[in-house]
Symmetry: C3
Subunit: 215 residues, 3 copies
């Protein structure tokens, strides 16, 4: 079967994982720093906003799970944020042209962090409904914290399918675990599903209904 590669070549899988995590973290940090630039924040403000997007969701998850926040166990995430900061400062004028690239990386980040959140919660012996919420928090809370720090209403509450792609991926993951499917298959299918749902929603302008006001 195609998925046997994941067992035959663990180094290859590990490399792919690290590259995806690098791209995802970079994209999350970039989104924070670029929004900070729009608000005329200084370099420190940019770093904090970028770092908050990159690690905010996972940190909230880890605090609630009662484990040490993941970013304290390796300098990888601080270094990624510094890299993103340098990119924004040096290539400010060229960032917009690459918007589709950042969108792709950002969606990779959403898919990856959702899955990581689910797996970490299950490892901590949480039930699946908690794991799905934690997956969503891991993927989305960083962006909410960013918008709070920017003094804006969180964009994830008003536009696009973003959080719902994460929740749908979590439910799919649950379903595949219930079917007792192979672990690698479960992860890869969930990963692709989250990315596909988000891009389909963007392509066809699908969004959640707005709550009706009471007048």
């Amino acid at each position: 079967m195609w998925y046997e590669i994941f067992y035959r070549d663990p180094d290859f899988v590990r490399s792919i994982q690290v590259i995806l995590e690098l791209l995802g973290t970079l994209a999350f940090a970039l989104s924070g720093i670029r929004h900070a630039a729009e608000k005329k924040y200084d370099w420190f403000g940019g770093f904090v906003c970028g770092f908050s997007v990159a690690i905010g969701g996972g940190t909230l998850r880890d605090l609630m799970l009662g484990v040490t926040p993941f970013w304290m166990t390796s300098p990888f995430y601080v270094v990624c944020t510094m890299l993103a900061q340098v990119i924004v400062i040096v290539f400010a004028k060229y960032m917009k042209r690459l918007d589709n690239t950042w969108l792709l990386f950002d969606t990779i980040g959403l898919a990856l962090f959702t899955i990581a959140g689910i797996q970490k919660s299950l490892t901590c012996a949480q039930p699946f409904w908690v794991a799905i919420i934690m997956g969503c928090i891991t993927g989305c809370a960083g962006g909410i914290i960013r918008d709070v720090l920017l003094n804006k209403p969180p964009v994830v509450f008003q536009k696009e399918i973003y959080a719902m792609a994460s929740v749908a991926g979590g439910l799919l993951y649950w379903f595949m675990v219930w079917l007792e499917l192979n672990f690698a298959v479960t992860v890869v299918v969930t990963f692709i599903a989250i990315i596909t749902i988000r891009f389909l929603a963007l392509r066809y302008h699908i969004s959640l209904p707005v709550l009706q006001s009471e007048e």
Copy 2:
């Protein structure tokens, strides 16, 4: 004595507790979702705001006490928030007419969550002054988080006696424990006191003084 019912019929007491907790959680979630609707947030935004009011204060308390956040131990609170979401979506037009009912439920929630916060802190071997602060956080922090997510100044900082009813209830609880009064009496009197203080403050437009500006 009247309070002996609490010992003669533990099932009855437990049922009342669950009903009160349902009403309180529902009212807290409703307040979050309705405010989100005013801001034109979508269904996801509404759910997050509702859930934040319902569990935000207790989660902050549990993180500081070093225990697992209470909402992760039972799906009750997620289900209550979903129920509140359905109510707001289906009955949007009728919500305003029931404003007095929601106010009553909300006040029940304040009283209940304050007492729960105090008791949980004491169980965690905290001193009473910490327990009173935790009671106030349990009752009020959710609403503050809601207003932060709505990008508004927290309403609890500007209007009405709300937090002070919680603090007054906490001091009363402490006083009754110091007097070594019966446990059921302590809880019931505190519960009634918090509700009474809030309604008297609303009825007679009593509020805390505003801080004077420096000019």
Copy 3:
């Protein structure tokens, strides 16, 4: 050597520490309450904003380190905030005249809390790069939380060298530990360095570059 006094007279050192902590906490709480007064918050809002500045950064640090938040171990910080509240209420008109005094106390607080954050993180067996971040969080996060509660963009993201003084102090501390300098020397030099950097930056209007917008 001059620093031997720290070993010959531990009571003297302890007294200085308590006085500095009192001044720092008071200044942090005052900044929260005065900003709340500008926003016309009531007494409760003022207290929460003041308390958030005084304990917010250290609480975030302690949650991430997995230890009980420091303010729960002694009523000192609550009492300091109450004292600050009384000062603001009684002496509202005279506060502005003392602005230079508050600035000095606030800078003492920044230096002290940075060092306390670094030391506590090292005690918790964290690596030095985490300790420096924790020092910065201890000194700066309270002010960010205050501005979020005031519904304003955090001032630390837009003006002055504030956080960078904390980070520079942290790096200097690291360097001196690496040189295996005497502990008392390390602490005192870091303390003076942070205060000096901040005042030089204020005096010569040094600030971080603003992120360039993309147009």
